[in-house]
Symmetry: C2
Subunit: 413 residues, 2 copies
């Protein structure tokens, strides 16, 4: 049978569980006679453009199983956005030619918004060129901002990490607050959507519990009300736990981080909303504070992955193979919530044309009235996603993460 | 029997396992008829000075058991250093009077350098005053810089957190490096001693493995050789993983963090060596980088505690009671390494007068010749301390950390 190979690529920022999707694809493909081999793109779609494909047949079943427990992008990933078909038709044609050379009939693109857009264009052009590819988008993003799916694999694990880190650091600063540090600020990812910052809200369920203040990109930062709230928390509870999205911005849309750092370091972009807030609290309230910037710590923290998140990531990969064999194409697979409590979910599909380049922000009714926290509705949405502890195995005190040899094919099959 | 109560206080920065020491004290005391009750100081020694003692008899056995799994300082802690006996005799006398009022015969002070010093002075003065107290210092510090003990409870868990975080973030940046971020900088604690930064070295065991560069307070920062090393790593391995101690300093002793931030923010102390290094790499090498500042995340991360660390913390508390009953006084309990491999340890004792106000830095032969990594000797020392995963129990996706009611005694017994 021809054109029975799969091309699988990872795209954009890695997550704690994206390799579980790869594992689902490869394990399922190995069970199916109708599938030849699974090729992975080295460093994502760039691997296809550079004719750098990795034959995953070289990996043992054990190594593939270990992908489930390994964070980051095992085959490498990239930030590379193809232009429109009109502007960049040659590149798309080049990709399709490569797929032809490797007898690839199925393209699974595991990424965020841009990836869904690319998959859609590939699907469209491949038909025009008489080499129809079964293109499936597999959602992945810690930001949880993809349209059309109830949640995005990768997010649940970050949410768990942030909720637990908020809980732990709040206990720390609280226990110090009588005589020392009274405010702790944790900066988290989410430049445009506040899902990750919102997940900190799971650490406590009333005004008295940490986090006392969540700063979301969806709520304009207002210095005066922020400082009043910080002061009030310190007065009422003895301490104040703050979780700030990196995308915290003023009403005019300017990020807090860009605001101060360009003045301060002669146009060197420092980044970091947490140090800015810390300096502000020092200056205006003279309250001793500490801050942390989680950055890659949060999205690579496989040691604390959510079992639900892992299961969803794996099932996506598995279902991609099964559905492609059943003729699915030009769709993104979705995670659909079919019951809230007890939580039940299933895999669904949505046309790629519907999801491409759309961004899902935190809905207004997920934000507490004062803008500094999450609503019960948001809590109900988030809580199922952090359930279960999917620990990796350990050896000699450290997790056993698999490192694959990324040697690429010498030439097309 | 009179004066058979224990006063227990936590001091300085919390750790992931300091409450396990409290648990060891209380559980063991409950088994001993010779002991009355264990009073805990609310917010450390300040609790004694303010006559704010907590009767731990109010807590159920279950709550006490949960202390083993709860980070931070369950009874509150403080940064408060008593002056010398000559300068501040009245305060010491006041403390001893409080202990007398509560029929306290045993004082267990769980802290770092300052605490050992205070314990020693209390011991000395109590004898002079004819109310001899059995004063025991119980070591605790994430910095691992206490003299006289092979390691300090609290450190093993931070070491494990930092080693794993280094491993995870390195996988992340490596998988992005072909087309995006190539350098990742993780800032860790340790203002004067590089033990925590050194523990990152456990993530890899050759030059090619992350972390490629560890910046220690013990090794003067030299901008030129640092930048050459970063550039070379990116050239050779495609990426560069850097772990920087917050105490990274120039040859003249000036911290990198104070250097730049005071210029930049008009004398507002921003802190953060990671953003400084990131800006430097941007400016001098134009290499895209990301950075994280772990701050309280690292020392409160009970979710990732080391089993060895937990066992040592608990045993210290247990042994404090047993040894105090056997007449031990004016000593700090120590963790002694009796065998390297397989690792074996036991509790020892050292006179408080010998340990007070001494600081243990990373020995020169623990540092790699190039100054950017750790030696095999250091690895051999560190590795046993991160063994075993002492997971907390979880409920609804979050760890079950106990929150104690900290109501204090209305008056002396």
């Amino acid at each position: 049978m021809v054109n029975n190979n799969i091309f699988y690529a990872q795209s954009g920022g890695p997550t704690a569980v994206i390799n579980a999707t790869a594992c689902g694809v490869i394990q399922t493909a190995r069970q199916k006679n109708e599938i030849g081999t699974v090729f992975a793109g080295k460093n994502g779609i760039i691997g296809a453009l550079k004719n750098e494909l990795i034959d995953t047949a070289q990996y043992s079943d054990t190594a593939i199983e270990q992908l489930k427990y390994t964070p980051a992008s095992a085959f490498g990933t990239c930030r590379y956005k193809l232009k429109s078909l009109e502007e960049d038709r040659a590149t798309y044609e080049q990709l399709i030619q490569i797929f032809k050379n490797y007898q690839i009939g199925y393209v699974f693109y595991n990424g965020g918004n841009d990836s869904q857009d690319t998959s859609h264009k590939l699907s469209k052009l491949s038909k025009e060129m008489g080499y129809p590819l079964s293109c499936l988008g597999l959602p992945k993003t810690v930001d949880n901002d993809l349209f059309g799916t109830d949640c995005c694999p990768g997010f649940g694990s970050v949410a768990k990490y942030i909720a637990i880190s908020t809980l732990e650091t709040a206990l720390d600063v609280k226990s110090m607050s009588a005589s020392s540090t009274k405010v702790f600020i944790l900066e988290v990812m989410g430049r445009h959507a506040g899902w990750i910052a919102a997940s900190a809200g799971l650490a406590g369920n009333n005004l008295e519990s940490a986090p006392h203040i969540i700063l979301l990109p969806e709520v304009p930062f207002e210095q005066k009300s922020f400082l009043i709230k910080v002061k009030q928390c310190v007065k009422d509870y003895g301490y104040c736990s703050i979780v700030a999205s990196e995308g915290t911005r003023f009403a005019n849309g300017k990020f807090l981080s860009e605001g101060t750092s360009s003045d301060a370091f002669g146009h060197v972009q420092l980044g970091g909303v947490a140090p800015i807030l810390g300096a502000l609290i020092n200056k205006e309230l003279s309250i001793k504070n500490h801050w942390a910037v989680a950055d890659y710590l949060q999205r690579s923290a496989r040691h604390l992955a959510s079992q639900v998140d892992l299961d969803q990531a794996y099932t996506l990969g598995q279902q991609a193979v099964l559905r492609a064999l059943n003729g699915a194409s030009d769709v993104m697979l979705t995670i659909d919530r079919i019951q809230q409590s007890p939580y039940q979910w299933q895999i669904g599909e949505i046309a790629l044309s519907e999801v491409a380049n759309k961004e899902k922000k935190l809905p207004t009714d997920f934000i507490r009235a004062d803008g500094f926290g999450i609503s019960e509705k948001c809590r109900d949405y988030l809580l199922p996603l952090i359930q279960g502890e999917a620990y990796p195995t350990y050896h000699n005190g450290l997790p056993e993460y698999v490192k694959l040899n990324l040697e690429t094919m010498k030439s097309a099959v």
